[in-house]
C-alpha cells in the first residue's frame, strides 16, 4: 500500500518518456502506439476482473462498443464536448456492466464465460439492429475528435497519442489502487477459493461486482476515446470473436494477475500483426502459431518470463545445484 506513490512516480516518468518518444514518431507509428495504449488500458482493467477475480468475461467487446457509441452519440447528437462525453461513456458502460454482472454472477466457470459470450453477442447485434442510434452496419461516421487545446503547439495525431497514453496511465494507477484496496483483496479471495472466502465472511458479491463495474468503467472510457480518435466506428470493431477474445489473449499472453503484464501483452499482440504486414497471406497464420508457442512455452505470459529471468539473474548459480544434492538436514 505504501508502494502506490512509488508506482505513480515510475508510471508518470514512463508516461513522460513515452510522450517524448512519441514526438519523434510518424503518424503511422503514432497510430500503432494509440492502438496499443487503448488496448493496454482495456487489458489492464480487464485483468482486474480476469486475473484478480478469476472471472472470464466475453462481454467486454460489446462493453467497449457501448462506450464508443455512447461517446459518439454524446458528441454528435447530444452536442456535448469530448471531455463531457468521456466520463459519461464510462459511467453508462459501468452502469450496463453492473446489470450484466448481476445477471452473469449467478453462474461461474465456463457457464459464466458462455453467458457473457451470449451477452456480448447480443450487444454486438444490438449495434447492428439499433441502426437509428448507431448507424447499423454502415457505421457511425463524423465523430468529432478530441480537439487540441489551443495553447498546445502539437498536431492532432500527437495529441491523440498523449490522450491514449494518459488513459493507460490513469487506468493503470486506478487498477493499482483497486487491487491493493480491501475490495481488491476480497476479489483475490474470490479467485482463490470462493467457499473459504464466504466462510470468512468476505462479501464476495460486492467484491466481484465492483471488479466488474471497475473494468466496465474503464472499458467505456477506452471505447469513447477510440471512437473520438478514429472519427468513425462500426459494429465490426466490437465483436466477441475479435475484441472479446483478443482481450483475453492480451491478458493471458501478458501474464494474468499482474497489472504490467497485460500492457506488455498488448504491445506484443498489437505490434505483431503490424510487424507481419509484410507477410500478408501468412500473417494470421503466424499470429496463431505465435500465440500457441507462447501458451506452450511461456504459460505465465510475458510477466512470468520476465519474473523468471529476473529470479535467475538475482541468485546466480547457488540454486542451480542438482536437486538431488540438497539434504534436508
Amino acid at each position: 500500500m505504501a508502494r502506490i506513490p512509488h508506482i505513480a512516480l515510475i508510471s508518470a516518468v514512463a508516461f513522460a518518456a513515452a510522450v517524448a518518444v512519441a514526438t519523434q514518431m510518424n503518424d503511422y507509428l503514432l497510430y500503432v502506439v494509440i492502438l496499443w495504449a487503448i488496448f493496454a488500458s482495456l487489458a489492464v482493467s480487464f485483468d482486474v476482473l480476469l486475473g484478480y477475480t478469476g472471472y472470464l468475461s466475453l462481454a467486454h467487446g460489446a462493453l467497449f462498443g457501448l462506450g464508443a457509441y455512447t461517446g459518439a452519440i454524446m458528441t454528435t447528437r447530444a452536442g456535448a464536448g469530448f471531455w463531457l462525453a468521456l466520463p459519461v461513456a464510462g459511467l453508462v458502460t459501468a452502469g450496463v456492466a453492473m446489470v450484466v454482472a448481476l445477471i452473469a454472477f449467478r453462474t461461474r466457470g465456463l457457464y459464466f464465460a458462455v453467458l457473457t459470450l451470449g451477452i456480448g453477442l447480443i450487444g454486438h447485434q444490438m449495434f447492428l439492429v439499433a441502426s437509428g442510434l448507431t448507424g447499423g452496419v454502415l457505421g457511425f461516421a463524423g465523430i468529432p475528435g478530441p480537439g487540441v487545446p489551443s495553447w498546445l503547439p502539437i498536431d492532432q495525431n500527437l495529441w491523440n497519442t498523449c490522450l491514449a497514453l494518459a488513459l493507460l496511465l490513469v487506468t493503470f494507477l486506478a487498477a493499482q489502487v483497486f487491487v491493493r484496496s480491501r475490495l481488491g483483496a476480497a476479489c483475490i479471495a474470490v479467485r482463490e477459493d470462493m467457499t473459504l472466502a464466504q466462510a470468512l465472511g468476505i462479501g464476495i458479491s460486492r467484491a466481484r461486482l465492483s471488479a466488474f463495474i471497475f473494468s466496465g468503467f474503464f472499458t467505456g472510457l477506452a471505447g469513447a476515446l477510440f471512437a473520438a480518435i478514429n472519427n468513425f466506428v462500426a459494429p465490426e470493431s466490437f465483436t466477441v470473436l475479435g475484441t472479446g477474445f483478443q482481450l483475453v489473449a492480451l491478458v493471458v499472453v501478458g501474464g494474468m494477475g499482474t497489472l504490467w503484464g497485460p500492457i506488455l501483452g498488448a504491445a506484443l499482440l498489437t505490434a505483431l500483426p503490424e510487424a507481419l504486414r509484410m507477410a500478408s497471406g501468412y500473417s494470421m497464420l503466424a499470429y496463431g502459431v505465435l500465440l500457441l508457442v507462447f501458451i506452450l512455452f511461456a504459460p505465465k505470459g510475458f510477466a512470468g518470463l520476465i519474473q523468471r529471468g529476473a529470479a535467475v539473474l538475482r541468485r546466480p548459480a547457488t540454486r542451480k545445484l542438482s536437486p538431488t544434492k540438497e539434504g534436508v538436514r
Binding site: 536437486p323 538431488t324 540438497e326 534436508v328
Partner: protein
C-alpha cells in the same frame, strides 16, 4: 517382492526423497511412519508411477519397474489406496468398484460380494454417487476399489484418516485378512493403533530416508517414531 533402492524423487526442483531404501514382502506387513511432509505420500506416488523417479530403482519380483507407466504397474499387481479420498465423485459406488477391476475386464459377482462383505455400507449405497458419501464412507470405498484389482502389493496411504474408531478397527481387521491371503502390504500410517495392529515390520522416514527400520514391536515402542516427529 518390492525392493526400493536409493530412491530419489521430488517436485519441480525440490527433492523430497533422498536415497531411500525399503523392501516389502507378503506375510510381513510393513508400516511406514514419519512426520507430516516427510515424503510418505511422495513415496507412494513414486512406487505407483504417478510421479517420475529421479534416480534409484524400484523392483518388483526382481524386475525393474522404475520406468513403467502407472497402468503397467497396476497390471503387475500394485494397487494404491491414495491419501485423501480420490474416488470418482460423480459415478456410482458400483462403477467405482468396477473401475478397480479395470485391467481385469469386468469384475465377477464374487469380487463384488467379497468387498461388499468387507464393507457392508457399500452394498447399501451401491447406486449412490460416490461424491455424496461421507468422508469415511469414501475412504472405505477407496480401499474396496483397490482390492478389486486383486493386487499382490497393496499400498495404503493413511487409510485411517477421518475414520471413526470402529471403522478403524474394521479397516485394521480387513487389512490383516488381506495380508493373510498372501498380499504384501505397505501401510503408511500415523495412527499408532492401526500401525500396531497391522504392522509386523516398521520403517520410520526422516530426512527423505528410511532412518530406523526393524520389527514393528521393537521400533514402535522404541520412541524412534516420537523422536522423528519432533526431530525435524
Amino acid at each position: 517382492m518390492l525392493e526400493i533402492s536409493d530412491l530419489r524423487a521430488g517436485y519441480g526442483r525440490m527433492a523430497v526423497l533422498h536415497g531411500l531404501d525399503l523392501t516389502a514382502m507378503p506375510g510381513r506387513p510393513t508400516v511406514v511412519m514419519g512426520a507430516n511432509g516427510v515424503g510418505k505420500t511422495t513415496l507412494c506416488r513414486a512406487i505407483t508411477g504417478l510421479i517420475p523417479v529421479w534416480s534409484g530403482g524400484i523392483r518388483l519380483d526382481g524386475h525393474d519397474i522404475t520406468c513403467l507407466s502407472p497402468a503397467q504397474r497396476v497390471r503387475r499387481g500394485i494397487a494404491l489406496v491414495p491419501e485423501g479420498r480420490q474416488v470418482f465423485p460423480d459415478m456410482t459406488v458400483r462403477d467405482n468398484l468396477r473401475l478397480g477391476a479395470y485391467l481385469r475386464g469386468e469384475p465377477g459377482p464374487s469380487d463384488l460380494e467379497q468387498v461388499e462383505a468387507l464393507f457392508p455400507i457399500l452394498a447399501d449405497r451401491r447406486r449412490q454417487t460416490a461424491g455424496l458419501l461421507s468422508g469415511g464412507e469414501q475412504q472405505m470405498l477407496a480401499l474396496a476399489r483397490a482390492l478389486m484389482s486383486r493386487p499382490r502389493l497393496l499400498i495404503l496411504d493413511e487409510p485411517s484418516q477421518g475414520l471413526a474408531p470402529k471403522a478403524v478397527a474394521q479397516v485394521a481387521e480387513a487389512v490383516q485378512r488381506i495380508s493373510e491371503s498372501g498380499v504384501a502390504i505397505l501401510l503408511v500410517e500415523q495412527n499408532m493403533t492401526l500401525a500396531e495392529t497391522v504392522g509386523e515390520w516398521a520403517v520410520v522416514l526422516q530426512g527423505g530416508r528410511a532412518e530406523v527400520e526393524g520389527p514393528a514391536s521393537t521400533v514402535l515402542k522404541s520412541g524412534a517414531v516420537e523422536a522423528s516427529y519432533l526431530g525435524h
